[in-house]
Subunit: 337 residues, 3 copies
């Protein structure tokens, strides 16, 4: 695909070469995100950060990514505070808001809404999640993390073994991640979930058609064995008909230090899209793994900034100019990593 | 009037020369808003964007206008999140908040509140709407749009024919726009509304005293004939005693392509303050006109940025310095206009 | 203490020398806050302004202070909009959010929450109020104001007489201020409150142990006599079991011009942490004193910006570089002080 001026709406718009290009630019963002240097390459540019559904983490991550490139951010955080409640169409909203900024990041609870908005927008639109549908930057940061974690073990995405665990039916992140991974070669997917929350058939079939191996199981212990990556998910309470229905599944699959040690091969990378539910009745990923070197969940969110910086740099076509407008950082930057 | 340091609270504070000065500065903002060049003339300045009532469009438009001049924006978007609920007076709020920024933009649901706040403020205050009362930047952007649209037809505001349609009783924008237009010469106003939602008598009388012609009618078809501008409005549901009462009037006056073709003279400019209500039972301005070259509604909101940039530049006295601190833009700026 | 990289969580972490250092840096911020000059010393730095409880004044004050140093601000203003409602721990939130910015300012309704967050954070955290517990920047700006007001009268904090009036039981600000003042010498505290809302014993004892004189009384008139400072507080309605219980005390102690003239010595400085409740049934500090030269309440909030700039400059270690990156201001800056 051609990045400058493009909307980023779905992982399905990428070829493997596109993904590799994003990751290459993400790599080049590291010194800026880590505050070794700073850049003002987007000095004067404005991003509209439109969140019609709450998501602190994703919103702030996109906002900081834009600030790290030197741009300004204008935010909208409440759908009730919007003209949509006065009967305005997404077409009108898109036409109008796209006159205010150079690029728009949008989250909306309704599937397809961001694409509809983008059709009216005169500037690039990045989908930050449209309900149960797509969240491409999350899938990209997950795959980028997988790539980096495997690389430090001298492995590649091609040929890896990955287990996905939990609510695979409603988990938008595992759907999108699966589609992205499918661009690579000979991956083994182990899908661990209650039957009722299994990965949709269309995705499983797609993976098999692309030549990947897929094993589906309800048994976590056997499923955990011999993976390079285990990817856990939260029960998507908000996607169930009722809370009691969701509660049937809460806490069904849990990973903690003793299970990890007993079943996983050493150095298996532990991932989770966050937030994880740390309440006792859920606790899908236990805090007793917090200090474990293979726990990659916080590296995932850190990588999210790099990937989002890369998406901005590519769609606004400044990826080649970043180093030219870079400077030393003059404030305290020691981190407690 | 003298702009530097002034509060902008009401359209009644302007003479025709003031309006023309604002439009002249707005013209000079075009290359910056269109991203042909960028300016950092307000680099280091801070605007307090205080919205005690939801209004995504107006809030973001003001915010981006300030960013486009190089300044920073600090926002407050929820009256419940404010000290006013703890019994603080607008005087105290004004004194305190004016110590934090260089200029304040304020919207508040109560008529007169912004003026009261401004009396205590130590920095310029721009009224972004105080309930049913005033919204001067909207009237300015409407008139600026009229001027530009007519100019492209080799016409002027003096002598134009304008029809205003819909809820002319509660429509703050048509009140303020009428007052501004009254500064010009020999305009013909055709006011189309249900009798119960007619333009207030004081405004009609004011227009006549200034030598303008005013025709009032309930019949849209005859009213539409031979205008240069038709300005539609939404039923201001929130200003009615009840929703059922408002519903009596919803959808009563509608403009669509077939009515436009049948009754309006060719090239009649179509305007609307937005948001327009596109739900089937309202639909005061049909989507089948979206591609019509005379539909100026999105040029209106684009012009809003220019007019707001001009207000900032004039009240902060940097209108003569903008080009000096301007630079080329280095990111992707092709627009789908 | 060593400032660079430090969390600022409680007034108890300061020695007198630390307080004096903060005040010295605050003094150096005056030309920038007053717009005589501007500085971009934190150009490129990002502050995360996380308010999990409403507080317009404190939030905007911190935000503007960071902007005045040239940095960017990313805000979170609604706890319901946060992952915490999905069962995320403060540890996870702290780890994740600290990957997005260079420093974090946090307010949260729960005592101890900010410290818990800070333990997981990889960047400095400034406590902007954790429920009934601590609000160190408020205590610092209060003491800084006392110092400046007394200095203009050729007096010092050492040896001053201060009266504190109102809800001394729930008033977080008077607790923290008392602790800070206790670092100085031979102060006389007159504590005026209903017995049920008296200053906690632990704080009174602490003051006496440090060699200060403490008088407790329910009688405002005698308590007001012969003070250098009178510090009024609001009834902290939100900390009572019920509104009717709080109402028992509303309006019990009021200061107005006639009481001030009758009982206070001339030039007694009047302070209040704001917001003050100006509704008739409360009105703890009457508007008839608004023009009185000894009313310092708006100088307090103005000083808040200086103190917060100082905290940023010290924790991010740029206090020595500010003048080097300073410039003239080119926009309208006359203030109606």
């Amino acid at each position: 695909m051609r990045f400058p001026g493009a909307h980023i709406l779905s992982v399905t718009q990428f070829e493997r070469a596109d993904v590799e290009r994003i990751f290459e630019v993400a790599d080049s963002m590291r010194p800026y995100a880590h505050r070794e240097r700073m850049t003002k390459v987007l000095d004067g540019a404005i991003m509209g950060n439109m969140f019609f559904e709450p998501s602190t983490r994703t919103r702030v991550s996109f906002g900081c990514a834009f600030n790290l490139l030197g741009g300004e951010v204008r935010e909208t955080t409440d759908i009730k505070a919007s003209s949509l409640t006065k009967g305005e169409s997404l077409y009108d909203t898109g036409r109008v808001m796209s006159g205010y900024s150079d690029i728009i990041v949008m989250r909306h609870p309704q599937a397809g809404s961001v694409a509809e908005f983008a059709r009216a927008s005169r500037v690039p639109v990045l989908n930050a999640g449209d309900g149960p549908n797509e969240h491409p930057s999350q899938a990209l940061l997950d795959l980028y993390t997988i790539k980096k974690e495997l690389k430090s073990r001298q492995q590649n995405i091609d040929g890896m073994h990955i287990a996905m665990i939990g609510d695979l039916k409603h988990g938008r992140t595992v759907h999108s991640l699966s589609k992205l991974v499918s661009l690579y070669e000979k991956v083994k997917f182990t899908l661990i979930s209650p039957k009722e929350l299994a990965m949709p058939d269309t995705i499983v079939e797609h993976l098999r058609q692309r030549g990947h191996e897929v094993v589906e199981t309800e048994d976590m212990e056997t499923g955990l064995v011999s993976n390079d990556i285990v990817y856990l998910t939260r029960i998507q309470e908000e996607r169930f008909a009722s809370k009691p229905e969701a509660d049937l599944y809460r806490g069904r699959f849990r990973l903690n230090r003793s299970i990890y040690t007993q079943y996983c091969q050493p150095n298996t990378v532990i991932m989770h899209p966050l937030p994880r539910d740390s309440r006792e009745d859920a606790n899908e990923l236990d805090n007793d793994l917090n200090q474990h070197p293979s726990l990659a969940i916080f590296r995932q969110t850190d990588n999210g900034v790099l990937v989002r910086m890369a998406l901005f740099a590519l769609t606004l076509d400044v990826s080649e100019q970043i180093d030219k407008s870079s400077r030393e950082v003059n404030w305290y930057t020691e981190r407690r990593f």
